[in-house]
């Protein structure tokens, strides 16, 4: 491709053909404001540039009208002006038009402080809303356990539609209607819960306003903490160890594990545990399940089951392939029943009084915890007085809000350690937070269990990072175990179509994470979550893995202890009772 030259605000720049005016301006150090545009919707190569908001307009010599810089390619010799009074006035007026149909209750809006519409108004010096008139007034959709939609705050940028349709291929959202009456809504105008939405929250991550947000469950936690009869325990997901700090001014990817433990104690939790511990437990069960399937001609390839968005996706779109999914619960759901059985017994606490709060990267975890079958502790004790295995799921964003609410100076907290019994986690568990991590952790354990030898190199670089579908193989006692890793449901769909067609018969294990980059890019993580943020957080995950004294799940002393004292052996009777689950065919034809 040849280079072209353009003049932007009097300065000449050379860019490759096909470069948009926006990117060319960036090269000339000229910032053009944008609102609807997204250079990536979580994965490189999936961008959103429909040019709907008209905030990025510029003047081009010889053209009577403005052009939107975000989706207009620069042409050789173009003379572009980005900040004439005419341009500035147009941007402002276009923004005011959006505001004239926007319920501006910023002070009580869930997006207050991280809203792109709000910050753009500051940037463009909006001081009044001149156009005035009718405003839409539509009901709030709070049908979903994970996502709340307030269409009155929607600016119809359609970023959510691209995330749902192109990135995730779920296609639960649509633009409907004409003119002023146009809305973005769940397909068919039904409540979100009735659609095929998998609760992944990628729409909430990209929404520039308060129109799609996570359900806020923080008050339930404040109430539980205040209840003296309740023993409130926290578990913190691997990915949160490197993301919570962002909200408190620490560099993206900083390891804040010790500070998060300290903060949770200051919030009033009775015990603070690590989902990493449960991730190590998951590896034991899932690794042994894989070995069992390979040895006994079980259904292969086996796919992972840690990502609840992926599970619902499979139930909706691949109900015929459910036997491929590992029967292991996710770490969150392994932690819950163990807290209400093993831990309760050891600490002599009535399991009816144990209240389990998860800190998760994920909006779909709220949905997962609410699944009816996730009440194994009550079944185990045959006591309906015991509440669900996991009582409340907080996303990273909600915990951040609680820390702020309590006035905790997070960045200056001392590092504290997790409580014992369910607090020790290995490097293998830590990498669950990034795409490829579950697979790598499983291989570290499976290799040593199967061969009885020490793995020469722990790091499986091939399956790490933001690349597309990733692949690796390792030789275990003469069997070449072949594995695949997909992140984002669009890539998962590509793999599952091949499984369905019988093309992946010689593969053994597939890791799927619903969110691009894995949990570090989960729908509940701090906003913004761009590709760059995801990459920095992934680096943070592997740095922490390297730092940890134990890096293989089966070497975790607390895991060895629970098998010795309580579970017996992986895939044993108690494991099946508490740690394994089943799936439900859903979808249009079920």
């Amino acid at each position: 491709m040849s280079d072209i030259r353009v003049i932007i605000d009097g300065r000449e720049v050379t860019v490759p053909e096909g470069t948009t005016i926006l990117e060319a301006a960036k090269k000339a150090n000229v910032k053009i404001p944008t609102l609807c545009y997204l250079k990536d919707v979580g994965l490189k190569g999936i961008k959103h540039d429909i040019g709907s908001c008209r905030v990025c307009v510029v003047e081009v010599d010889g053209k009577p009208d403005f052009v939107s810089s975000c989706n207009t390619p620069a042409e050789n010799g173009m003379v572009i002006k980005t900040n004439t009074p005419k341009v500035l006035a147009a941007r402002k007026l276009n923004l005011e038009m959006l505001l004239s149909d926007h319920h501006l209750d910023c002070t009580t809006c869930p997006k207050n402080g991280i809203c792109e519409l709000q910050s753009l108004c500051a940037e463009l010096n909006v001081r009044a809303i001149r156009p005035q008139g009718e405003m839409k007034s539509l009901p709030i959709d709070d049908s979903s356990p994970s996502i709340i939609r307030n269409p009155n705050k929607c600016i119809l940028c359609q970023r959510c539609i691209t995330a749902c349709k192109v990135l995730q291929t779920v296609d639960a959202l649509e633009l409907y209607g004409n003119g002023f009456d146009a809305v973005v809504r769940p397909k068919g105008g039904i409540p979100l819960i009735e659609t095929q939405c998998v609760n992944c929250g990628q729409c909430a991550l990209v929404c520039p306003t308060g129109a799609i947000v996570e359900r806020d469950d923080t008050w339930k936690v404040w109430e539980a903490i205040a209840d003296p009869s309740k023993h409130v325990v926290a578990q913190t997901a691997p990915s949160t160890h490197v993301t919570i700090g962002e909200a408190f001014g620490l560099p993206v990817g900083t390891d804040i594990t010790g500070k998060m433990v300290a903060a949770l104690r200051r919030l009033g939790f009775d015990a603070v545990f690590d989902t990493n511990w449960a991730a190590d437990l998951t590896i034991m069960e899932e690794g042994y399940e894989l070995i069992h399937r390979i040895k006994n001609n079980g259904v292969l390839p086996q796919t992972t089951s840690c990502s609840p968005g992926w599970i619902k996706f499979a139930e909706e779109f691949y109900p015929d392939l459910l036997p491929h999914i590992s029967s292991c619960k996710s770490p969150q759901q392994m932690f819950g029943p163990i807290a209400k059985t093993f831990y309760a017994e050891k600490k002599k606490i009535n399991p009816e009084n144990i209240f389990v709060v998860s800190v998760m990267p994920c909006t779909a975890k709220k949905y997962e915890a609410a699944r009816p079958e996730m009440n194994s502790a009550a079944k185990y004790w045959n006591n309906p007085g015991i509440s669900r295995d996991v009582d409340v799921v907080l996303t990273s964003r909600e915990l951040i809000r609680m820390i702020r609410e309590a006035g905790i100076d997070f960045a200056n907290l001392p590092d504290e350690k997790y409580d014992p019994i369910m607090g020790e986690g290995t490097g293998a568990a830590q990498i669950f937070g990034a795409t490829g991590g579950v697979m790598e952790a499983a291989l570290r354990t499976a290799y040593e269990v199967v061969t009885g030898k020490t793995l020469p190199k722990l790091d499986f670089e091939d399956i790490r990072g933001m690349k597309g579908i990733k692949e690796a193989s390792v030789n275990m006692n003469g069997i070449t175990v072949k594995v695949l890793v997909a992140h984002s449901l669009g890539l998962a769909r590509q793999l599952m179509d091949k499984v369905r067609a019988g093309e992946l018969k010689d593969y053994h294990f597939i890791e799927i994470m619903a969110c691009p980059g894995g949990c570090i890019g989960g729908g509940g993580q701090p906003i913004p979550t761009t590709v760059e943020e995801r990459e920095l957080r992934i680096n943070g995950i592997y740095e922490r893995d390297k730092k940890l004294p134990i890096r293989k799940s089966h070497e975790n002393p607390e895991i060895q202890a629970i098998y010795k004292e309580f579970l017996g052996e992986p895939l044993g009777h108690k494991s099946h009772q508490l740690l394994h689950t089943h799936y439900i065919p859903r979808g249009k034809n079920n």
Binding site: I50, G51, S52, C53, R54, V55, V57, P64, D65, F66, S68, A89, A90, L93, N94, M97, L98, S100, D101, R130, P131, Q132, G133, E134, I155, L156, Q158, L175, G177, N178, G179, F180, D181, A182
Partner: protein, 127 residues
């Protein structure tokens, strides 16, 4: 008879209907047919409709008329496609060339009796 060439064809109009009617009709058409995606067309033409309604009420102020011109110019130059652009252009031209129609409407004296302003012929000539 007057014809305006837009994105979707020609609009034929009886000679003795006034331009304010024409504008209201066209804005209504735009709202009904706008894909709703871009801001100026979706919201801007709605706002213009609301202001033009005030011409009929006779309640419009001078500052509203001048803001209407602002809006029209912006919608004409910022809309993503020709539908919005056309709506903006139509309102701008009406404000520039058909002031008689507007004034009589504001005074309430126009009951579709004023012949279309000849200014409209200039409209089709321009651009």
């Amino acid at each position: 008879m007057i014809a305006a060439v837009g994105s979707a064809g020609k609009l034929f109009w009886e000679k003795d209907r006034c331009m304010v009617d024409m504008v209201q009709f066209f804005l209504d058409y735009t709202q009904k047919n706008s894909c709703g995606e871009c801001t100026p067309c979706r919201i801007g033409t709605k706002r213009m409709q609301e202001i033009v309604q005030k011409v009929f009420d006779g309640s419009i102020s001078d500052s509203e008329i001048s803001f209407l011109k602002n809006l029209a110019t912006d919608i004409e130059t910022s809309s993503r496609c020709d539908l919005g652009k056309m709506a903006g252009k139509l309102v701008r031209y009406t404000l520039e060339f058909c002031n008689d129609d507007i004034e009589s409407r504001i005074k309430g004296s126009c009951a579709c009796s004023i012949p279309a302003n000849m200014g409209w012929q200039q409209v089709v000539m321009l651009r």
